[in-house]
């Protein structure tokens, strides 16, 4: 994987020479004495001193300031044969050039951050993708992105009658006095309207006005003036009206007449002059896009010219010529657009800017994956480009669902808030607590508009490269070149969009008798699928575009093609390929290859194919849900739509209720933890109402609003907790609470608190438990949440088993079936946790032998404990943990003896000579000097703290899976390893005479070996402990 991936995105380099053929530049070695460590600033200064071969500190400082040079990564610290320590810096060409430039001219070329900044400011490419690149704004007024010269025929009878006037060489523009910049002027006491004339040359204004009409934009005055300059008399620039008007005088005369009459006049502008003018304008003031336009126009003209010279032999030859000309033009446009490296994305709005940025992030992430995975890295770069586009398409598709009022947005976020509001309204609660629901609704509408804008921008997001293909596409369209489906901009992205957009449609389509019925052999269903695919793929991709061009017949054809293609996915499923996307892909690839398609086209097929396949899967799931709901497997489209909507709504409603419930429980539990009692100073209603009203505006914040609401109404929630209890009432609970409070004040109570008394000895806890059992409708979890603070109050922490026991007892007392107890989730095996619990009962069941019962119990025991392990493995997470040894050592010093820095830190004294008695020295350990409690054969320490942290974290990153496997599944719950860091990371001593060769003798050495011991923290949340890690010399 190229390490400059983030700095030079490969798409920028497309079609350009690889510039990495730099020759080897000798490294700079900054020498230091042993034990001398430099910070990055000092190191950079010394490095520059070395590179400039100077001792002049001012020069060094100048260079650093001018170039902005910084050492971002630590330099490797090495040793040469003589034992001299040095930092090695390997300069690149830029660095070298900057140094040379400074030596020769006294000016350093920018390096590091500064370089990037300057590149961005000067709009150079390539630009780093990870930073948000400034994207060109189109010039204002925006000139249309279209072929340079618009053909315009002159056929009016009022054309100038000069003998040398050839209408083909002129543009005709009808101008009226309104088209000019005018001003009022008083002359001889009379108000007069005059055309504003710059530099006394009215032709300038006519030109500007004419060009404004022709191109919707004005040219710079300096450019026009230059053209007119020296052409005062005889050069044909333009005519005004039916009379020739070339000279200033003629123009002024006709113009004056025009103003007086107030009529429109025909102006004729020389085509060749206008083209000259446009070229001059682009040369002087044009941006990159204008220049590209010019390039394309020239290149297309050249192609036209080339083909004009070829005389077709016959009709067949003529048609081939036409075809080659078309494809040559297309290739030229593509090549020029791509080579321009221009980012055509518009970013006028903040939302647009973030969409661009998001696209870049998606691209960077995808490319990183593609380049780092050996499976993909060898693919042709064009295919990789397509893959990036497809990924962006998936994101885009997701947002385009959002952007419509009918999108899932409607169902979820807003549905939730609307639901809450309508409940408030219908119950009249809003007035009672003082919420102005209209205000909230207004605030909501504002937010929805914002969200729509945002989603709109994101649904059109594209990478810089995609924007280029869009630009090439629109040019082709405007230039009247023929367009095939694969020429569509971001065809691959369309495949991605299709999945997200098509899901609801396909779901309904499949649900109304799609796959299920088709397997039974119904031809009708297959047709329905094809039609459905035509609706989705056809309308969204091809048809849309063809329709835009008013080419209905190709649109229908393309729709049919897409439909046929869409039919392949379910077909291949039915052929026994089992819905396997990979198999579908193989099918597309094989078919594509047979058809002689390019790699890119084949990939595009695969994307589309898979998108449809995924849609079908989702559709099948939807069908199952709907069928279950309606109690039959056939239904109409409308029925399916209604059912699907209801399912959405119910899910939203349930999850909203759960959320509210959860917040209630949290609120009461927090209150209990705070006060140790449910007793509360009830506030007067209005106060609560005011609080709620103030928070009402925040209702727009989606789910968070609910929490806010619950928190604001804390007193209310707390006061209502268990208010409806019948068996153990609030009064009984509060009485128990008071008894506990009183008891805790006695010496005996203090003893309780310190020792943690058995639960059964506290009848009042039993009362409390019964109270919470009854109040906690949400089951076991809620019960635990409530009992935790109650027990904490009496100094007790209960295990899950104890809670379960307590819960079961209370359930029995309250005559509730234990089957309602939701103890925990069932994992990968068939037995639920409740069943497993029952399995633990050794009593022999009916139809079971004594032996079988025993085995059942054994298995259940294993299952329970191993479930814990698998859960724990998951809880440790796939993401490698990062550690800082300093923090690790402090946190785990006492109980886990974490001692990396204490025994092997860079600050430990190396040599025993000269060290006061009782000092830990690295060398002394070889001899077992006090305070070391034994002699060792290998004793090393880290070179420095940053090397230590870096090496350990690198190791953790690379080996995280092995580490967490060991921590969880290794019976010692530890991970021990000896590894090579690939560079010197530590120094120390080994016993030269180990193995009985003689008396112990310490020999100095450097090492790249590292020993690491990692344990598992036994306390939630699970995390690794670096018990120790040190440079090691030995090992097997």
């Amino acid at each position: 994987m190229p390490n400059n991936l983030f700095l030079t995105p490969s798409f920028v380099a497309v079609g350009r020479d690889d510039q990495t053929n730099s020759q080897q530049i000798p490294p700079f070695d900054v020498k230091v004495s042993a034990g001398e460590f430099l910070d990055s600033k000092e190191l950079a200064a010394r490095l520059i001193r070395l590179a400039l071969q100077t001792t002049d500190e001012t020069k060094v400082a100048d260079f650093l300031r001018q170039s902005g040079f910084e050492l971002k990564d630590p330099l490797p610290r090495l040793n040469d044969a003589s034992g001299q320590t040095f930092y090695r810096f390997e300069p690149d060409e830029k660095f070298q050039k900057s140094i040379e430039s400074f030596q020769q001219t006294g000016t350093a070329l920018p390096l590091g951050e500064k370089q990037v900044e300057e590149d961005i400011l000067s709009n150079k490419t390539p630009q780093p993708l990870v930073r948000q690149p400034p994207i060109e704004l189109l010039p204002t007024p925006r000139r249309p992105f279209a072929p340079l010269i618009k053909p315009s025929k002159i056929s009016d009878s009022n054309a100038p009658s000069r003998s040398d006037f050839n209408p083909a060489d002129w543009y005709r523009v009808e101008l009226s006095p309104e088209d000019f910049v005018k001003f009022q002027r008083s002359r001889n006491g009379k108000e007069q309207t005059q055309i504003k004339v710059a530099d006394g040359d009215p032709r300038l204004e006519i030109y500007q006005a004419a060009l404004n009409k022709l191109y919707g934009g004005k040219f710079s005055e300096d450019v026009v003036a230059k053209l007119l300059d020296g052409r005062d008399d005889n050069t044909s620039v333009f005519y005004v009206g039916t009379n020739t008007a070339q000279t200033k005088d003629e123009v002024v005369k006709n113009l004056t007449a025009a103003i007086k009459s107030g009529n429109s006049y025909n102006f004729y502008i020389s085509k060749s002059s206008t083209e000259q003018l446009m070229r001059a304008e682009i040369a002087a003031h044009g941006d990159a896009k204008d220049k590209l336009n010019l390039q394309i126009a020239d290149s297309l003209a050249a192609i036209d010219e080339k083909y004009a010279k070829i005389e077709p032999q016959n009709m067949l030859h003529a048609s081939f010529l036409a075809l080659s000309k078309e494809s040559e033009k297309k290739a030229a446009i593509d090549a020029l657009t791509s080579a321009s490296g221009i980012d055509f994305r518009a970013n006028e709005t903040e939302a647009g800017k973030s969409a661009n940025y998001a696209a870049d992030v998606v691209e960077t992430a995808t490319r990183t994956l593609l380049e780092s995975n050996p499976l993909y890295s060898g693919m042709p770069s064009a295919v990789k480009d397509e893959m990036v586009k497809a990924t962006v398409g998936f994101v885009r598709g997701g947002y385009s669902l959002y952007q419509t009022g009918k999108g899932i947005n409607d169902f979820v976020n807003d549905g939730l808030t609307d639901g809450a509001l309508s409940v408030l309204k219908s119950t009249g609660l809003d007035k009672q607590i003082g919420i102005d629901t209209d205000k909230v609704q207004a605030a909501l509408n504002v937010r929805r508009a914002k969200e729509a804008e945002y989603a709109q921008a994101f649904s059109q997001m594209g990478t810089a490269q995609m924007s280029q293909s869009d630009a090439a596409y629109s040019y082709k369209q405007a230039a009247g070149l023929s367009i095939k489906p694969y020429d569509l901009p971001n065809w691959a992205a369309k495949g991605g969009e299709l999945t997200a957009k098509a899901l609801p449609y396909i779901a309904i389509g499949v649900a109304t008798g799609g796959v299920g019925a088709a397997v039974g052999g119904g031809g009708r269903a297959l047709l329905a699928e094809i039609g459905l695919s035509a609706v989705t793929t056809g309308a969204m991709g091809t048809g849309e575009t063809y329709s835009l061009r008013r080419e209905y017949i190709p649109a229908i054809k393309a729709g049919g093609l897409a439909a046929a293609q869409g039919a392949v996915a379910p077909l291949s499923n039915r052929l026994g390929l089992g819905g396997d996307l990979a198999a579908n892909t193989v099918y597309s690839v094989a078919l594509g290859k047979l058809e002689g398609k390019s790699d890119v086209e084949v990939f595009q097929d695969a994307v589309l194919q898979n998108a449809i396949g995924l849609g079908m899967q989702a559709g099948t799931r939807a069908h199952t849900e709907i069928a279950a709901r309606l109690g039959r497997s056939e239904f109409t489209r409308t029925e399916a739509q209604t059912a699907l909507k209801d399912i959405f709504r119910e899910e939203v409603a349930t999850s909203a209720q759960n959320k509210i419930r959860q917040i209630e429980v949290e609120t009461v539990a927090a209150h209990l933890a705070e006060t140790g009692s449910l007793a509360t100073k009830t506030q007067s209603k209005p106060t609560i109402g005011e609080g709620l009203s103030a928070k009402a505006a925040e209702l727009q914040l989606g789910g968070r609003n609910l929490k806010q609401r619950a928190l604001t109404a804390k007193e209310e929630i707390v006061a209502n907790w268990g208010a409806k209890n019948k068996v153990v009432t609030r009064e009984q609970y509060e009485a128990a609470s008071r008894r506990i409070q009183n008891r805790l004040r006695t010496p005996e109570g203090v003893e309780y608190r310190n020792s943690g008394i058995p639960l059964n000895n506290l009848p009042d806890i039993g009362v409390k438990a019964a109270f919470h059992f009854e109040a906690a409708a949400g089951g076991f979890k809620e019960f635990v949440a409530m009992m935790n603070p109650e027990l904490a109050q009496v100094g007790r922490v209960a295990t899950t088993a104890e809670y379960e026991e307590l819960y079961r007892t209370k359930a029995a007392e309250a005559r509730v079936k234990p089957s309602e107890i939701e103890l925990a989730k069932a994992k990968l095996t068939q037995r639920t946790d409740a069943q497993l619990k029952a399995d633990l009962d050794p009593a022999v069941r009916a139809g079971e032998t004594q032996q079988q019962a025993q085995r059942r119990v054994e298995q259940a025991k294993d299952e329970v404990s191993n479930r814990g392990r698998v859960d724990l493995y998951d809880a440790l997470g796939a993401m490698p943990r990062r550690v800082t040894v300093q923090a690790n050592d402090i946190q785990y010093k006492t109980f886990d003896k974490a001692h990396t820095r204490e025994n092997h830190g860079a600050n430990i004294v190396m040599e025993r000579a000269g060290a006061p008695n009782g000092t830990r020295t690295i060398e002394g350990r070889i001899y077992g000097d006090a305070p070391w409690d034994r002699a060792e054969n290998f004793s090393y320490k880290w070179l420095d703290d940053s090397t230590m942290n870096q090496t350990i974290n690198e190791y953790m990153q690379k080996n995280w899976n092995q580490i967490r496997e060991d921590l969880v599944f290794n019976e010692e719950h530890n991970h021990i390893a000896l590894f090579d860091a690939g560079k010197a990371i530590g120094e120390g001593y080994y016993n030269k005479n180990m193995g009985g060769l003689g008396a112990r003798q310490a020999e100095y050495g450097k090492t790249s070996q590292v020993k690491i011991v990692i344990k598992l923290d036994q306390i939630e949340p699970p995390s690794p402990i670096i018990v120790t890690s040190y440079p090691a010399g030995g090992g097997r």
């Binding site: 939730l416 294993d862 060792e936 496997e965 290794n970 010692e972 021990i976 180990m994 036994q1018 090992g1035």
Partner: protein, 162 residues
């Protein structure tokens, strides 16, 4: 759209991990059995544990390697007293590993070994520089470790091999 996400495990925070919350004494006979690892492999495989873990459990390591690992894992502790403290702590949360290590160590000591196997184990893996680095002395050194482990395991120590 993800407002309904619940935050997991908050109520467990600060408590002992479930896998360490086990009554080891009730299970000691299971721990001692020779096919403990195989049974674990079956059970974990059913639960979808990583395949590598399952494979490792099914393929026993050579005795010397187990002992080397054991030594390597306690080498950093320091002198005998520190080692005893470390072992005691291990018993409280990971007795199975210790039982298996003890079994391997005793097996190694009970069977004749090639020359210098024990000396190398002590010098390299245990990183212990003995005054008398001979093989015999190293063996005695390992014997001392075995006895200490047995003593620390107490009631959990497996019955001595015949």
């Amino acid at each position: 759209m993800n407002n309904q996400e619940s935050k997991p495990n908050d109520e467990k925070k600060g408590k002992k991990l479930a896998i360490f919350d086990v009554d080891h004494f009730a299970l000691k006979e299971k721990y001692w059995s020779d096919d403990y690892n195989l049974k674990q492999a079956d059970s974990l495989e059913r639960l979808g544990a990583p395949q590598r873990v399952v494979d490792n459990l099914r393929n026993p390591k050579p005795t010397v390697e187990v002992v080397a690992n054991f030594l390597s894992g306690i080498e950093y502790l320091g002198g005998w007293e520190e080692i005893r403290k470390g072992l005691r702590e291990t018993v409280s949360y990971a007795p199975v590993g210790l039982i298996q290590n003890l079994k391997a160590l005793e097996k190694l000591l009970a069977t004749p070994q090639e020359k210098d196997v024990c000396a190398k184990l002590v010098a390299y893996d245990f990183n212990w520089s003995l005054d008398d680095p001979s093989d015999e002395n190293a063996k005695a050194h390992l014997q001392k470790l075995a006895e200490m482990t047995r003593e620390v395991l107490g009631e959990l120590a497996p019955p001595k091999a015949e």
